[in-house]
Amino acid sequence: MRFLIVSASALLLFACGTRPTQLLGEAQNALSEAALAKKCAPDEFEAAEKMYIKAQKLADAEKYDEAEAAARAAKKLAIKAQAKAQARKDECLTPPKPATDPTDFIDDSGPGVDAQDGDGGGMETVYFEYNSSDLTDSARAAMAQNGDWLQRNPTVVVTIEGHCDKRGSTEYNLALGEKRAKVTRSYLISLGVEKNRLGIVSYGEEQPMDYGDTTKAHGRNRRAEFRVVRR
């Protein structure tokens, strides 16, 4: 009864694929349609733009899986940015008022799972390898941007959510998700973000971004996501 060998060939297979031309196009369209966002939700727009550039670079480097994930994320960010801009349209297009007290924006409904309040602000989701909480190069690149964004938005408090794909036990995945959230938090602290602005929570395999059972779906679910709990 041997069940030992996990061959490297399986990993190589996952790396193949084709350039996600369609998704890149969709992301670009979403960005060009988000003209209002450029004015009214500039941080969000910038994040979407950066993600799109990253997707292109990844595609150029033939990292198609990561490129696809990034293109998808860029599209999502662009749509979100536009939605946010629409919501802010009135105040944004009228002359600026004096700065308000940041506590006005405190969302005190708490970071409950069941609630899941707050979006990712201008922060990029960070992705992980299978059964790993090590930061890959692309994760570090995303983190550098996240660090910048947090520095530029010094009142923002976020919760870092650790997530896993659905393979493996429920309980182990909670532990693994926490490890991912912690690694992400430590890295942001090392980039100079104050630690009291960074909460963590692990959802294990409970909150997939993609309910599919494909290699790609698993890849999208192994992540640390950011939720702004206070602006």
Binding site: M1, R2, F3, L4, I5, V6, S7, A10, G110, P111, G112, V113, D114, N131, R167, G168, S169, T170, E171, Y172, L174, A175, L176, E178, K179, K182, V201, S202, Y203, G204, E206
Partner: protein, 437 residues
Amino acid sequence: MRTIVYLAVLALSTVAWAQAPAADGGFKFDVEQGELVLFQLAVPDAIDLGGEADTRGVTEALTGTIVRDLGIAGYFNLVDKASYLADPTKEGMKPKYKDWFNIGTQGLVKAGYRIAGDKVVVDLRLYSIDGSQQVTLPAPYDGPVELPIEATKLRYHAHGFVNEIIKHYTKAPGFFLSRLVVVKRVNRGKELFMVSPDGLDETQLTRTGGINMLPSLSGGRIYFTSFRNGGAHLFVLSGGKAQPFAQFKGLNTGATMSPDGRHVAVTLSKDGNPEVYLLEAQSGKVVRRLTNSWGIDTSPSWSPDGSKIAFVSDRHGSPQIWLMGADGTGQRRLTFQGNYNQTPDWSPRGDKIVFTARDERNVFDLFTVNVNDGTIKRLTQNQGNNEEPSWSPDGRYLAFTSTRSGESKLYIMTADGRFQTMVSAGKGQYMTPSWGR
């Protein structure tokens, strides 16, 4: 893969056998693992003993339950009804032994009912055909019993009767009056449910709309992990009320009670990374921390004598099954094959630990490891993903989840993996069963 060969029954050496129409009933001989003798039973439909007609599912609740239970139990072969020589309806509650002997059955289950209003008198009997006598069973199976016409109550009575049948043939009673707690997906959340081992009589235990998981049913208490307060916290459900149990900073997951009921082993990450701790079962106070490694230590399971704990640790790089004393001393790695071994459950018999392993094809299957010599035995293969095993109270069976039919469903198998039966009756995904001990 095992090959099972069906042979016509020659062992009973009755001449009349050759005249029996069906050759379906037969002993099974397992080629690879040696001879396996199945007990031959006939279970005709329950008969009307002269009351009102059965329009409310009495026959299904009695005979249906007995047939399903015997199927789940394994080790029984039900003689094909087409081969019956006697007409069970005309025969009444007392058999003509010869007619049943001649079709090669060892046992005969007779069920009768007399319906009056919302009550039914139920008479369940086991006859030994080779012994030509009724088997004397303990109360309430020693004579007719009056019951309300409610499927749950009728099934309960039938489950207890099957337990006695199993005890008669195998010397140890069946498990059909035990309960399991499972997790099912409800909308976007997960809720706890209690079910019978036949998958019926489901009761929803939590209704938060959020995530409730990792139940552990022991001594009438259900410890579980819930996100209702924002993170993974432990709660205990007892007497219909859920109360907070452990709400330390970080993860609080997977409580399992010690056999003496005094302590609970849990995973907490309050001091850094996930470690196994011992808490007081009533108060939730920390007694001591049991592990201290850089990696993930989680999923504790007690040895039946309460002296040791099996757990999962990835301190050597990949999740493996480890052992330690219940005080945290003598930590040693038990599994060395594979690179992804999780969810240990220590057999109530003490000798084996069942666990989930990801094999070389990235498929999850169930294995046992012998506690003393580390021998590994495979229980499932080529049947989807099989995960989250939990022993029956007597250690003769295992509950687990499998995706062999598509969605993750609840299954019960004999401890050797020979008989595996889907028992989930309801819709949806079933996860992490805990068989009450």
